[in-house]
């Protein structure tokens, strides 16, 4: 499949691409001296963390960076230099020869135009088809990308499509004129894993059928491993390592690539502590002639801090921009030297229950119109929680995973009473917390704290860190006023922030640092239990590992119980003692981590695990893990909530809702199919 470079001239040849965009602080070099080739039919993965310049590189190819950006260098596309091409001629290439798919289908599709029109305008621009033919072709395209009942969806608007369907529609638009090259900018980042799985497979299928080349921008190394032929790793606007995926992932020669690979949690194999890269990526505006990675690099020498390395071959079809490409092969990795990686969690010995949750129900009524009320239309309800049961033991970390809309965040919020449940019981340390009021409630609030997902939204931007922490200490009388400054310093130290961070405002910190401040705020009231809702999902991988490791460390140090809510199964695996899988407001399986990942029993768990891209898997199989999309929580299906998407569903599944039952040991799941005894289940992957 992959073309051998050098035999035929490359389809696309980028040389010394420089893109400067204007900012408040003057021009910023977002892409710096980037060069790469793309062979016909090849999939190139462009990876890097946020701000590394991968998206700007991609957009520079079609000159889609907003003016007054400056693009320099050469981009040779089938013999023509796109950088110098007049706008009119470039327009004939855009969409016709090179098409693009963007990250967020909701914002990339024009919300006020029908999907049909947005497909047809591409055809109108590049083909001689008549209106009738364009419409037929549009239906055909929707059909190709797997949108059911394509003809009827043509006149729908983007908001009437689900996320996955929107992404399919965007792909349909992109491939409308049979382009030779597809530029895919994080096309699956906004999607759930099962949908991501479907989309990735769609792109692979299309590549096969249409003979397209693809440049795939992503931050997810797992996605690269499973879909790409070659990879280029970007850091601070430059490509720092490139080569075939197999070579680079097996033996990275740049410390950054190595660090990145080490900080990514895996779905399989032995649970190892996550490794992190210290520090954060540099802002692009503060660049000088050094190696941009030097400040974070364990192998950096003075030479690195003075001279900028260029990309040079370290092996056949493998190049790295590092002064010491041999260091990784000779020295043991010391990427996380600052903080020794915490031990992988083991099951705590004492398991007295801290939280006991039973039959929790929460529905969000949909606002009814005046007319509907007048006509006595029944109230429609979004069923967010349909009675999950579970226990969180003292000192235990329980991971709650599930895709968006499964109710996991609602569950977390009910536990701290940000949301009041409609029915069911929540006992904390034996007390029913749903009826607590006044001082008792404040006491409970002190003992159970929550840490939040959004590093930007979770801190009040108008308060300094000192005010944020001081307020928590003051309100709960944690310390006498005189002792508060010391305590703030201690808290900052606990989350590994310098003392002088206290007098700065949140915007002065990076995302990871903000999450630490959020943790410090929660710890200020000395809680026994932390509820972390998607704590690191907004962070870059290298930083993710830092925060996760910090959390594990604190848990060990302070004996905290943790409820870790996340959609990232790989991450949950690395943190949790036990994992609960949620689907449509219910827990469908709950089991000790090792057991769950080794042998998932519920068909949904199995599907979920098989959909997760993993660095250890070299090539994605074309079998789709799970069909269809999440049913509407407004009208959950009768019987087993998963049955409409379950390949093995039997008649009973459609009628009867399976209960979460213990099937040997610590393992519970809710499925009619599985035999009652804990037998050997099918492995998650064929």
């Amino acid at each position: 499949m992959s073309a051998v470079p050098g035999m035929t001239p490359p389809l696309l040849s980028v040389r010394d691409l420089v893109t400067e965009v204007a900012t408040a602080r003057g021009p910023m070099r977002a892409v710096d001296q980037v060069s790469f080739d793309l062979a016909d039919g090849e999939i190139l993965g462009l990876v890097g963390e946020s701000g590394s310049g991968k998206t700007v590189t991609l957009r520079s190819i079609l000159r889609l960076v907003a003016p007054p950006a400056r693009v320099a260098g050469t981009i040779l596309w089938r013999g023509r230099n796109l950088v110098a091409l007049p706008e009119r001629e470039l327009r004939a290439i855009r969409g016709r020869e090179i098409a693009a798919v963007f990250q967020e289908p909701m914002t990339a599709l024009n919300p006020v135009l029908t999907i049909g029109l947005q497909i047809e305008e591409n055809l109108q621009a590049h083909t001689m088809l008549t209106a009738r033919e364009r419409r037929r072709r549009a239906i055909e395209l929707l059909d190709i990308v797997g949108i059911p009942a394509a003809a009827s969806r043509l006149d729908g608007y983007p908001h009437q499509f689900s996320g996955g369907m929107r992404q399919r529609a965007m792909i349909a638009i992109a491939i409308a004129s049979n382009p030779r090259l597809l530029l895919a900018d994080e096309p699956t980042t906004a999607l759930d894993v099962t949908i991501q799985d479907q989309i990735l497979k769609l792109i692979l299928t299309l590549r096969q059928q249409l003979g397209m080349s693809v440049i795939f921008v992503t931050h997810d190394l797992g996605v690269v491993a499973e879909t790409c032929d070659r990879v280029a790793v970007m850091y601070a606007g430059r490509i720092i390592e490139t080569g075939s995926v197999a070579t680079v992932f097996a033996g990275p020669r740049h410390p950054y690539t190595a660090g990145l690979l080490a900080s990514v949690p895996r779905t399989g194999g032995e649970r190892r502590p996550l490794q992190s890269i210290p520090g954060t990526p540099p802002p692009l505006s503060q660049r000088s002639g050094d190696c941009a990675f030097a400040p974070r690099c364990a192998f950096a020498t003075d030479h690195c801090r003075q001279r900028q390395p260029t990309l040079s071959a370290v092996a056949p079809d493998h190049a790295a921009a590092c002064w010491h490409p041999e260091a990784l092969t000779t020295a043991p990795p010391r990427t996380a030297a600052i903080a020794p990686p915490p031990r992988a969690p083991s099951r705590p010995t004492a398991t007295t229950p801290l939280f006991e949750v039973a039959g929790l129900v929460k529905g969000f009524p949909v606002r009814r119109s005046a007319l509907a009320r007048l006509l006595g239309k029944p109230q429609r309800v979004v069923h967010a929680l349909n009675g999950p049961h579970f226990v969180l033991g003292r000192g235990e970390t329980l991971g709650i995973v599930g895709e968006s809309g499964c109710g996991k965040s609602t569950l977390a919020q009910c536990l701290v009473r940000l949301i009041e449940a409609d029915a069911g019981t929540i006992r904390y340390d034996g007390i029913d917390i749903r009826t607590l009021r006044g001082a008792a409630r404040r006491g409970f609030n002190r003992r159970v704290q929550m840490i939040f997902q959004d590093p930007y939204g979770s801190l009040n931007p108008r308060m300094t860190v000192r005010q944020i922490l001081g307020e928590a200490l003051h309100v709960h009388h944690m310390r006498p006023a005189a002792a508060i400054p010391d305590r703030i310093t201690a808290l900052l130290d606990l989350v590994r922030l310098p003392a002088d961070a206290a007098d700065r405002y949140p915007h002065a910190f990076s995302g990871g640092q903000r999450q630490r401040i959020g943790i410090a705020r929660a710890l200020a009231v000395e809680p026994e239990c932390l509820i972390a809702d998607e704590l690191v999902s907004a962070l870059d991988v290298s930083v993710q590992a830092q925060v996760v490791n910090l959390l594990l460390d604190l848990q060990n140090q302070l004996g905290l119980s943790v409820l870790f809510v996340a959609h990232d199964l790989r991450l949950v695996r690395h943190i949790s003692h036990r994992v609960a899988v949620m689907y449509l407001g219910e827990i469908v399986e709950i089991a000790p981590t090792e057991a769950l990942f080794a042998a998932p029993r519920h068909p949904y768990t199995q599907a979920l695990l098989s959909a997760v891209p993993d660095i250890d898997h070299s090539r994605r199989t074309l079998r789709i893990a799970v069909r269809g999309e999440l049913p509407s929580p407004l009208a959950p299906p009768p019987g087993c909530p998963f049955h409409p998407r379950c390949a093995q569903a039997i008649d009973r599944c459609r009628r009867e809702r399976p209960a979460l039952t213990a099937r040997g040991g610590d393992r519970l799941f809710a499925c009619h199919l599985a035999p009652p005894q804990d037998g050997a289940a099918a492995a998650p992957r064929p």
């Binding site: 900012t23 977002a30 946020s50 701000g51 907003a66 929550m450 979770s458 009231v525 870059d540």
Partner: protein, 282 residues
């Protein structure tokens, strides 16, 4: 994940313009306020004293803006009008912004029946032409600036409340508000200490516009004889007074007009700058 829209957000070259706007706005309004506080220092003549020998004189060295039909110095009248018009700008908006912010904060925070009632009040107020409402209320209370403040206060707060309630709802979706509740903070603390400082931005921007609009409203009421009391100088009254002399004594209307436009410009520039400054930083 890495949801940074690389396309345009970083690429707006105009982000340096607000600095110029801010300075210009501050200079205009600073001078206006100074004039408003110390008109006596700036004005060359007594704005009220008649000079029957100098009726309707055109601009000259003695009277740079000319004189009116009483022989009063127009420059001094325009200057003294700053005192009244700046007062109009501030006093008309003071109660609305304070009370409106308070109501808006409560409605935005608590929702429920009160919010429903509030919604209907908002509908009623925005459905009915504002100036007619104010004219009717001023007519009830009697003309005069004090009553204009009351009249505007009775309806003007609704706009602020609506703005702040909407912004409160936006802020409440952010996690820091939830964090406060999880930390067991009281409602008052969450509203006053956390939500309001973040929700107040659009209100401040609107306030600037509203102050400029208040001057216009004061002028319109002055034109209808419902505003400032004679012989006090107020720009709208000055223009209305000069209306009959448009063709013979243009200076009676032009200079107050320029003062209104200039002050409006000041508020507008400052409003834009404030909006820019309050734009969330990340």
């Amino acid at each position: 994940m890495t949801a940074v829209p690389t396309s345009g957000a970083a690429a707006d070259p105009r982000r340096r313009r607000p600095a110029i706007g801010l300075i210009a706005g501050l200079v205009i309004l600073g001078l206006s306020l100074l004039t408003a506080f110390l008109p006596g220092l700036v004005a060359p003549h007594d704005p009220l004293s008649f000079d029957y020998k100098a009726i309707l004189h055109g601009p000259s060295l003695v009277h740079p803006f000319g004189t009116d039909n009483f022989g009063r110095d127009m420059l001094s009248r325009v200057i003294w009008a700053y005192r009244i018009d700046m007062q109009i700008a501030v006093f008309t908006t003071l109660f609305p912004i304070l009370f409106g912010t308070m109501v808006g904060a409560l409605v935005g925070f608590y929702d429920g029946i009160a919010a429903q009632i509030f919604g209907r009040i908002v509908d009623a107020v925005i459905t009915f032409p504002f100036i007619v409402l104010v004219i009717a209320i001023v007519a009830v209370l009697g003309p005069g600036l004090g009553n204009m403040y009351i009249a505007v206060g009775m309806v003007g707060w609704v706009f602020y409340a609506r703005l702040i309630a909407a912004e409160m709802r936006v802020q409440m979706r952010l996690d820091y508000a939830a964090a406060g509740r999880v930390l067991g903070y009281g409602d008052v603390r969450i509203i006053v200490r956390h939500l309001l400082p973040n929700a107040i931005g659009p209100v401040l921007v609107y306030w600037m516009t509203d102050m400029a609009l208040s001057i216009l409203l004061g002028s319109a009421l002055g034109y209808l004889g419902l505003g400032a009391r004679p012989p006090a100088a107020e720009w709208g009254v000055l223009i209305a007074d000069g209306k009959n002399f448009m063709t013979t004594a243009w200076w009676m209307t032009i200079f107050p007009g320029v003062a209104i436009v200039l002050t409006g410009l000041g508020f507008s520039l400052l409003g834009d700058a404030v909006a820019e400054l309050l734009r969330p930083r990340r």
